[in-house]
Symmetry: D2
Subunit: 337 residues, 4 copies
């Protein structure tokens, strides 16, 4: 922590501030300049609230100089984390392709779509059984019945399963069926939930909250890592801005930033980011070009009758054509899909 003192501060006040910092457990270095005196406070705990110092008399400004996250940081783990799930590895040169419907609707639907996912070369099938919906009147998912269906469909086509968990008392149930837990954007700071997911032995894909800073996102990942689970995938899915012609603003600049700050892989979700079918392909291409380690795309073969998010689902043919383009872009930047 660096503490900038106000001009014309008395030496008694400086001493008092130093004393307070020491009482908080810091080791203090003082630099006296012509105009400003600066204190370096070494030994800050990641949870120290710097506002405690900011409100002291004579303090002009305070800067935290250590990141508040540790295990998530690239300082802690310099190499990219490789997350292995059965025969799939995420975070290396190979870009992961995840696809499937928004919601699992019935046996026939999930089997039909699983086949398309497998045909595309993707290794992971997505589908929601418990759905977070803004409206209490919307379809809330098939529950355990849906979990059974997606597991069976995935097994039939040799795919992994990713599905969302929304509450602690569903973790065991969902864990019986899924290979990867997904935490949705709205639950990114449901600390009770993510703390528990830190104790399971399966990977967790943590979506960025719609208004979460990159730092808060990494702090939520830290909840999972610090509870013991090191298998965390981050997922960028669009942030909320003033723009209304788009549903969200897909923050692709977050990808290189996260890669610099953290060793965890980043998946991109252009379907939720854009919310509308015809914007998914350009944004999927852009995500790969920006360096995403994986991409998750919603598909449906009868989107008019989909029980949720039909308008953002790609039709099977569009999806297969897009995957071909993504392969070329991956190649252009020296990676593979």
């Amino acid at each position: 922590m660096v503490v900038i003192l106000e001009k014309n501060i008395s030496s008694e006040q400086v001493d008092k501030i130093i004393h307070t910092l020491e009482s908080y457990g810091f080791q203090v270095h003082k630099s006296v300049g012509v105009e400003k005196t600066i204190l370096g406070a070494i030994g800050v705990q990641p949870d120290f609230d710097t506002r405690k110092v900011k409100i002291l008399d004579g303090v002009a400004d305070v800067y935290r100089v250590t990141t508040p996250y540790k295990l998530t940081s690239r300082n802690f783990h310099e190499e990219n984390s490789l997350i292995k799930i059965k025969d799939v590895e995420i975070g290396g040169n190979q870009i992961a392709l995840i696809a499937g419907p928004c919601s699992i609707e019935n046996e026939d639907q999930i089997f039909r779509l699983a086949k398309i996912v497998a045909d595309s070369g993707a290794k992971i099938l997505r589908g929601g059984a418990f759905k977070p919906r803004t409206s209490p009147y919307s379809f809330q998912g098939l529950g355990e019945e849906g979990l059974k269906l997606i597991r069976a469909a995935a097994d039939e086509f040799n795919l992994l399963v990713i599905t969302e968990v929304m509450q602690i008392d569903h973790i065991d149930l969902i864990g019986k069926y899924t290979d990867i837990f997904q935490v949705g954007a709205r639950n990114m700071q449901n600390f009770a939930l993510i703390k528990e997911l830190g104790k399971v032995d399966k990977p967790v894909m943590l979506k960025r909250g719609i208004a979460a800073t990159i730092e808060e996102w990494l702090m939520s990942a830290e909840y999972i890592l610090s509870n013991g689970n090191r298998k965390v995938l981050l997922c960028e899915r669009g942030i909320r801005t003033f723009e209304t012609y788009t549903r969200n603003t897909f923050d692709l600049s977050a990808i290189p930033v996260v890669h610099k700050k953290s060793h965890l892989p980043v998946i991109a979700d252009p379907s939720h980011a854009t919310g509308i079918r015809d914007q998914v392909p350009p944004m999927a291409r852009a995500a790969i070009a920006a360096g995403a380690d994986g991409i998750m795309i919603e598909i449906h073969d009868d989107p008019e009758n989909a029980l949720s998010d039909g308008p953002q689902a790609l039709l099977p043919n569009t999806f297969l054509k897009l995957v071909d383009e993504l392969k070329l872009i991956a190649q252009a930047i020296g990676r593979k899909i």
Copy 2:
């Protein structure tokens, strides 16, 4: 729902769109203008996803004309809702005053502060026993021990208790001690939690998510009301914007807007909105002047050693002086504190 068709659309296409709308259960009225044809689709369900129509060929734009919330709407309940909790009533001419520490820290602390709260004329004591913290390394609250302490302190000074609930399996426990459940900003869209709180027989104060639109906030209230609990208080606590000189942007314009759209009372929380002590009094005054039905203020008598959010806590004397000013402002607009 109003559907604007594209110029130069063929009459076959118009018929096809009308047919699709009817298949979704709408009754359709057609207005043909010189330049544009407009369809009025009557009978929309609150959970209908208008994007389903937006992606149809020949559709230029779609507008939902009914609010997606019903029970929360002032159309449904024209009078202000009065929330009665023992001898306190919120939502009428009397403005509710809620105060107390961020966290319950120990018996002595909560009793000392409860006395100050009672001295100010406030009727409700706040204090957290389970704390949502951005960092997994921060103080997470005293748990049930804290609940016992705040209940005892409140009873001693004839106050009501409000405290936060973060997970479903704590509802019963917290319900034994509190008079009002608080749902924090980060859990505003923890749908599993708020659905359960719709089934309890105690008021719930629902904080606005840091990036929640007013509409989403009212939709989350709808989750509680539609599950049976009509005693909902809304709480504005600042939204996230691009500004960095302030912690959040306190959205006081939300107060008159919510009053127009909904019958539910709105509480204002200037402590979390500003995050720094010296901005709390001006923003508390502004909230009352803007028409808030209640105000919640954090106080502490030893903020340097507070276990959480000390920098935003008012000292007892500043608090008591502020309450005097708030009384004058309430009077200026024809209300009482």
Copy 3:
């Protein structure tokens, strides 16, 4: 400027960074901690681009510790600036009241409204002759004819005039008629314009850009002050956020923050902030309660036929009633209107 070095940096690298800093003209102090080395670089010029240091090898982070504005800063001028214009003084205990129509429309209109403004006790008449409009097809103002009318109306009722200037080659013309130049939100960073306004001998009211940080706003004020004109009024008029139920988010928390950082008076404009008549009174009250040094309110006696912004104009009676309420609130916080 404080420069945080990366862990495990070699001493050669540290020397190289220090050397670079010195070549930029800084005097450098080094603090070596257990984990981190921190350099204090004293003597930074206000226009130094800290990214130049951020990209050096071995640098983890950089913090500017001096504000980039000087003359605007309260450090430079500790007392509140009092802006005197004829017999009116802004920035002291008396709160300035500014009112009038959005646009000057014709002689009769501006005289009728000037009378109402004078009746309310306000001392300053607003009205636009050159209008910045989002659409090229909208009414763009009466031009010099409008300036003549507002000057005559103001003189008749012993009022001051404030009107907007949008381009450099209008400064002389407008200067012949107005007492205060207004710079609109869209021109806050029209540096060519504000530089010229730094050379005139009349006060300038600088509106905050719709997405300007407080720091950028103060930097634009610095353009005016550093060119010689010390009579600057700041005006908060709402910022752009994700919320769509309100036109802008009125950032009242900016008021106490600006008062802390700067000596310049802050005016609040609830009419443009909310954009809709019935939200103006609560937000006007809130602005006074938050500590604004002045308030600017749009009025019209025939808003249905107003040539611009009729929907946000208060009717004369509502306006006069509001002024009475504002007086009581001013009194409650020890000020006067």
Copy 4:
């Protein structure tokens, strides 16, 4: 315009609203549903302020159903606009490459960099002679001397010139030297300036304001087109959001949206969007993949001593390597650089 009436409105009120709409020049169609009555008001002028209707008694909501821009709209001009400048064409299958320094600093610098630009295959040289700077104390550009230098350098290497214009009285001067006028983000709504640029016979590249909606951006383009100049290039350069780890949020989703709404080409500027060198290549790649019609990249061969924005300039070798990657990505999506 569609007008939704309130439930339980009397037929007298409906008639009064219809009468008002007709007095504004609309032709009105009425649809009476079970719950709601909807009025379709045909014939709206692009500059009509819908708030005028929103505030009428009995009106629940109002939706504008025509876009406020006309000439800019793809409805007006279905094919992509091709902007021809000498032997360069922008807006077709070929992606335009623009590169050069932030500021023109001296003869040697601009000639050295022009050579690199030409070597890369780019056809357009950028460089600022008049610089908009947040601080009045920063380098403000070489002025006409800079214009002469960039023109000479461009001619030497057979390149076109693009440079920024900030004020009306510079248009003639700059027009003597440049091939394309650039309007910066801060001047996007400097209506006086863009109106004048609508009268010149050279292309204008209009940068999106940092907080401008896509609609406002297209409205500003409309100012130029409606004054006679049809050669407008749009340029996305990042928007302001809550995120602080990035300088701006590069809104690549704007690209497909603008392509849908308008016929004008869209250039992407990853240098200003990210503000830091190592994020430029991934974002440049993403912009091409998202469908940009051109890309503008800042380069410098001595960024440590650049007079502005050195930290975001690519070194020549990095730039040349990036161009190779961009060519492969262009190829992957069926285009050329």
